[in-house]
Amino acid sequence: MERAEAGSYSKVKSKKKRNYTRLLRSIIQGYGFMLPTILVLLVFILGPVLYAVFLSFFDVTLLGGTVLDYTGVDNYLRIMEDSRAKRALVNTALYVGIVVPAQTFLALFLASTLNAGLKGEKIFRIIYFLPTLTSSAVLTLIFMWMYNQNGLINNLLDKVNLPTYNWIGDPNIALYSIMIMNIWATAPLFMVIYLAALQGVPKNLYEAAELDGANVIQRFWHITVPQLRPITSFVVIMGLIGTFQLFDQSYIFSGGSGGPSNSTLTVVLLIYQYAFKSLGTMGYATAIAFILALIILIASILQRVLSKEEQFN
């Protein structure tokens, strides 16, 4: 009796053990296949992110032997007193506040005109999409030629008797020059997304509205816009993330200084300056980067919450 029990017990145990080894093997196998990707993610993405957060609590000296001095939250407190950081935040907020709504609306507008079934629709689609295919650095350089005091844009404005501006050199204008350029360049990307979504809006809604006597504008506001709400939510979030990270355009525009008079200084440009331009401020730069990540996170969450509330109404 006892022996039999013991025998069945060991049988169960060995079965369990066999199950366990099989599980282990499949785990090893699965992760083995994923290993290259996981390693790349760890080494090049997750690792640096965590290391940056770690560094933000230190005073970092890199040249002449790496020295880390633990300073607690000093780097974060320093942001509060840094007037250039404040200026960068204000510039970035202004930039986001204007560019995101403008490019979203423009994208929607372009998409609906393309969707209206006009002649030459395909050609226009290609023409509209071209700016997105151009590299942003090249685009900025071309625009700087056009923005030149004696350049194309001022010449055109002059021809039609409009006031001309010093697009690059005037501290009150420079940031707006970058905004115009960026809206022009990114709106088409979102336009394509909207265009795809527009194909999915049921035609019968428009027909019904038309029968009820709704005009084009009413149909747009009461059918197209609400139907596209989830897409708009996506476009706005992607726009927020992209605009908060403005760097290359303002870098090229100002030659890396954020000038004239700090008017094109953005948060990422400031991070770059502290990390690579001045010695010994790497820790402070990572602290600003962390704060920027938080701001983007909060903005995205806010946007999601707001758009959800609307949907329930």
């Binding site: 083995g32 290993l35 390693l39 840094d82 350049g151």
Partner: protein, 418 residues
């Protein structure tokens, strides 16, 4: 079963390969290379290149050097853009070149970190370090007088004037600020301003310090002081009250040199580099150069200099020194400065080449003696960045100069911290 274990094995192999790719270097200067196959020492030399002419001259120098030192080969690398960013990153990663260019403005900060090799112990009689202009070598010394770099050449600012325009307006070449102001007003027309001004500290520090004030005191910004504001006020007034001056950006130009070449400014304060630029881009232009007019009765100009320095972590210091001492020695410097690309930092070479009597370069050479070298302690990059930002708003008439510079000084000093 067999295939499975084979797969595990292969994924482990992948891991190994990645790990091998990640490790590797032992942290010393890597691609500088050690000894080549035929027993030669290879050293690396890094710099930027501002023109094809510069590259050609350096190549000539290096060929001469290798001929004289058959046991050394030099690997020349040109860092095309963001020189200091690239260099600092490479130094941090232990991949720094053995010998490299270093601008005087960056020197004090880099000396402080200890990544540069002190050179006093290498210098011998033959090298004759006393031959260099004193204020060109000062930026490369630490407090104890240890030298970390020797200038390859320098440039100063001079007053470039458009002969035709001056003749037409019947104006003489100004020798002091009052005359300059009058001349600028006379020379201003609808398309041309009298004086083109670069509203930057690098170009205007000597003016700011022509009174009693100093723009940098003890490594901190001090340009908000009354003395500095008073010294710089006439420059701002020349634009805003007399409308006889402008910055390049207002004219759609990149630099005052371009403004001058295009005939948008009758006079500019530019450097030696402007001479080949004008000759190539605007060959028909008739211009003259004179010493910068005196401000508050004191003569001044800026001097810009770049040195050759040695990496402290270099494993081939003897060979590196040989290279530096050749490039900055009398023979090498003569090759380098013969065409007038840069002015010779050695008095003996300047004399030999006879630049003092040169119509164009004479006034620039004369400036070396009283010039303010563009280098002022480790925090200068932070200080001038803030000065430039604020000075521009004042120059464009958006703020009073006093208010702008006081703000700039505060911001700079809070950035510098203790």
């Amino acid at each position: 079963m067999k295939t499975k274990s084979w797969m595990i094995l292969s994924s482990l192999l992948t891991l190994l390969l990645i790990a091998a790719g990640c490790s590797g270097n032992d942290g010393t200067s890597g691609d500088g290379g050690s000894e080549t196959e035929d027993g030669k020492t290879e050293i690396s030399l890094a710099g930027w290149s501002s023109s094809p002419e510069e590259e050609k001259l350096l190549k000539q120098q290096l060929e001469d050097f290798e001929e004289e030192n058959p046991d050394i080969t030099v690997k020349h690398e040109v860092i095309a853009d963001q020189y200091m960013d690239v260099l600092k990153t490479r130094l941090v990663g232990g991949e720094g070149p053995d010998v490299f260019y270093l601008d005087a403005v960056e020197a004090p900060a880099l000396i402080e970190t200890g990544v540069l090799e002190p050179l006093n112990s290498y210098v011998d009689e033959d090298f004759d370090a006393g031959d260099f202009e004193e204020n060109l070598i000062d930026p490369f010394k630490d407090e104890e007088g240890e030298v970390y770099g020797f200038p390859k050449g320098y440039s100063t600012l001079g007053l470039f004037y458009n002969k035709e325009m001056l003749d037409e307006a019947g104006v003489d070449v100004p020798t002091n600020w009052e005359e300059l102001e009058e001349a600028a007003k006379e020379l201003t027309t609808e398309d041309t301003v009298g004086l083109g001004i670069s509203p930057e500290m690098a170009r205007n520090q000597f003016i700011g310090e022509s009174g009693e004030g100093d723009m940098v005191v003890d490594g901190k910004a001090a340009f908000g002081s009354e003395e500095v504001v008073n010294a710089l006020q006439p420059i701002v007034d020349l634009r805003n009250e007399h409308e006889a001056a402008a910055a390049p950006s207002e004219m759609g130009a990149e630099s005052t040199g371009e403004m001058f070449g295009q005939g948008r400014a009758a006079m500019v304060m530019e450097g030696n580099w402007n001479v080949p630029y004008l000759n190539e881009t605007f060959p028909d232009m008739e211009y003259g150069v004179s010493e910068i007019p005196t401000f508050n009765d004191s003569q001044g100009t800026m001097a810009f200099t770049v040195s050759y320095v040695m990496n402290q972590a270099s494993e081939k210091k003897e060979a590196s020194w040989k290279l530096i001492s050749y490039l900055t020695g009398q023979e090498g410097m003569k090759t380098w400065t013969e065409t007038g690309l840069e002015l010779p930092a050695r008095a003996s070479v300047a004399e030999e080449l006879g630049y003092e009597d040169d119509e164009i370069r004479g006034p620039l050479v004369a400036g070396a003696e009283y010039a303010t070298a563009w280098s002022d302690g480790p925090n200068l990059p932070t200080i001038y960045n803030n000065f430039d930002n604020e000075f521009l708003s004042a120059f464009l008439g958006e703020k009073s100069l006093e208010e702008a510079l006081e703000t700039g000084e505060d911001v700079a000093n809070s950035e510098i911290g203790e």
